[in-house]
């Protein structure tokens, strides 16, 4: 029966016509004129409803990747110094080539450490800056600086994050937290300014902790919640669950849809 109703509603309805391109645009952009298709409007509204907390997972990993990407500059330094190492070994080879011309092959032998002891020592004295090993040294380490420079000490990204301090930082932080939470509930709410967000992240000991920090701060701290807190920055109701900002926010889509 219901199906039949539905069909007749769609197809045979007196005032209902087939969705045309204008209606499509109205529906897709949530134009009020799309009211002619209430079921569909509701569906689209639900698909675009404000985010839920469980959809906002994964920020820590994304942030870590973002910060790691920011630290790639040391890598490029390492690359250049590796290049420098390469250039350096080229210098050795060119020098060796010159020496070949001059000394008829002794220098080449010297570079690879294959001269008799005294000559090798001599070559080392001459070319030590260019990596000719002293006698006795194995021929291998022609280019020690390379390995050294690739092991750049990378500054720890966020080694010591400050511990969570829910203390009397109180009103302002709680205000930020409210904005954060309201924003999480409703994407139409103003997001925090980058500066505020940083403040909040600092208070929480990292941006990835903000949600947990705010939950703790706003629920678990009766001493703080008793303060009237006029300094609150929050332009939004502290009760996002009922969130119904007048004006542009959509009147809660729920009441007519229990099903």
């Amino acid at each position: 029966m219901r199906l039949r109703d539905a069909l007749s509603h769609v197809m045979g309805g007196s005032r209902r016509r087939r969705i045309g391109s204008r209606e499509v645009e109205q529906l897709l952009t949530a134009d009020p004129d799309a009211a002619a298709y209430p079921g569909l409007s509701d569906l689209l509204a639900a698909a675009a409803a404000p985010p839920r907390p469980d959809e906002l997972v994964g920020l820590p990993a994304a942030l870590a990747a973002f910060e790691a990407a920011g630290q790639e500059s040391p890598t490029s330094v390492a690359v250049t110094s590796r290049r420098r190492g390469f250039a350096r070994s080229m210098v050795v080879k060119v020098a060796a080539g010159v020496a070949v011309a001059l000394f008829g092959g002794t220098a080449l032998a010297a570079e690879t450490g294959n001269l008799p002891g005294s000559s090798q020592q001599h070559a080392h004295d001459l070319f030590s800056g260019l990596g000719v090993p002293p006698p006795g040294a194995s021929p291998a380490p022609t280019d020690p600086p390379v390995t050294q420079s690739t092991v750049m000490p990378t500054p720890g990204p966020s080694a010591g994050s400050p511990s969570v301090t829910p203390g009397p930082a109180g009103a302002a932080t709680r205000g930020l937290c409210r904005s954060w939470q309201a924003r999480q509930q409703n994407p139409k709410k103003k997001p925090l300014q980058a500066a505020s967000l940083q403040k909040l992240a600092a208070a929480a000991g990292g941006a990835e902790n903000i949600t947990a920090f705010c939950t703790a701060l706003l629920t678990d701290d009766p001493s703080v919640t008793t303060t009237p807190g006029p300094a609150e920055v929050s332009p939004t109701p502290s009760h996002p669950g009922k969130g119904k900002a007048k004006g542009h926010s959509k009147p809660a889509p729920t009441p007519h849809k229990k099903g």
Binding site: A49, E67, A69, K257
Partner: protein, 200 residues
């Protein structure tokens, strides 16, 4: 987040500001995740995090305004989703009966959340029944808030094709018995004049 706010967060994030990056994430993640839920189902969360990993890596090289950023981000999401499809095809008949997401595992006490969640889940599952090109067009238009040209850019199609896909998708949804049935069951006062958030 309107374009002005998005623009300032975007430029700060491009300069490497983690707080701004978090703000971008917060603004865009829900839409990315819902889009992916429609096109890759259960794998959506994984694909969303892959999307953000790539965005995090490449964002400093991004230049452009917020609309271009949305296109950029959803293109990444779509490419990662295509990768996921390839992987899934290669996977030998894996039992895909993952347990349903635990409903209301987070903040279970707010009844309204649960209702709303059910609504959104239902809506996304309905859209997911559409042929893929239609589902994508509808999601990018409605949830991601892209216009026809931007949607076409993400999908690599002509705008005309996007328009048609969206129209067919909506017609099909409007005619879907469940949509009608649900609407009737839903009761009387339909606040049809409520504007939806036009994406993010």
């Amino acid at each position: 987040m309107d374009d002005e706010e998005l623009a300032s967060a975007l430029s700060a994030a491009v300069r490497g500001d983690p707080g701004a990056f978090a703000a971008l994430w917060q603004a865009m993640q829900p839409a990315v995740l819902r889009y992916l839920r429609v096109i890759v189902g259960e794998a959506a969360e994984d694909v969303a995090s892959e999307t953000w990993l790539q965005a995090a890596r490449d964002l400093r090289r991004f230049s452009g305004a917020p609309p271009a950023f949305r296109v950029w981000l959803f293109t990444i999401a779509r490419n990662r989703a295509i990768d996921e499809h390839r992987r899934a095809r290669r996977r030998p008949e894996e039992p895909s009966e993952l347990p349903d997401r635990e409903v209301a595992a987070v903040q279970p006490d707010v009844a309204q959340d649960v209702i709303q969640k059910a609504d959104t889940d239902w809506a996304l599952s309905m859209i997911a029944t559409l042929p893929k090109d239609q589902a994508e067009a509808v999601m990018l238009r409605v949830v991601a808030g892209l216009d026809v040209a931007q949607t076409a850019q993400v999908l690599g199609k002509r705008p005309g094709a996007v328009r048609i896909a969206a129209m067919r998708g909506l017609r099909r949804l409007a005619g879907h018995a469940e949509v009608q049935a649900r609407r009737r069951a839903g009761g009387t006062s339909l606040d049809l004049n409520s504007p939806r958030p036009e994406g993010v």
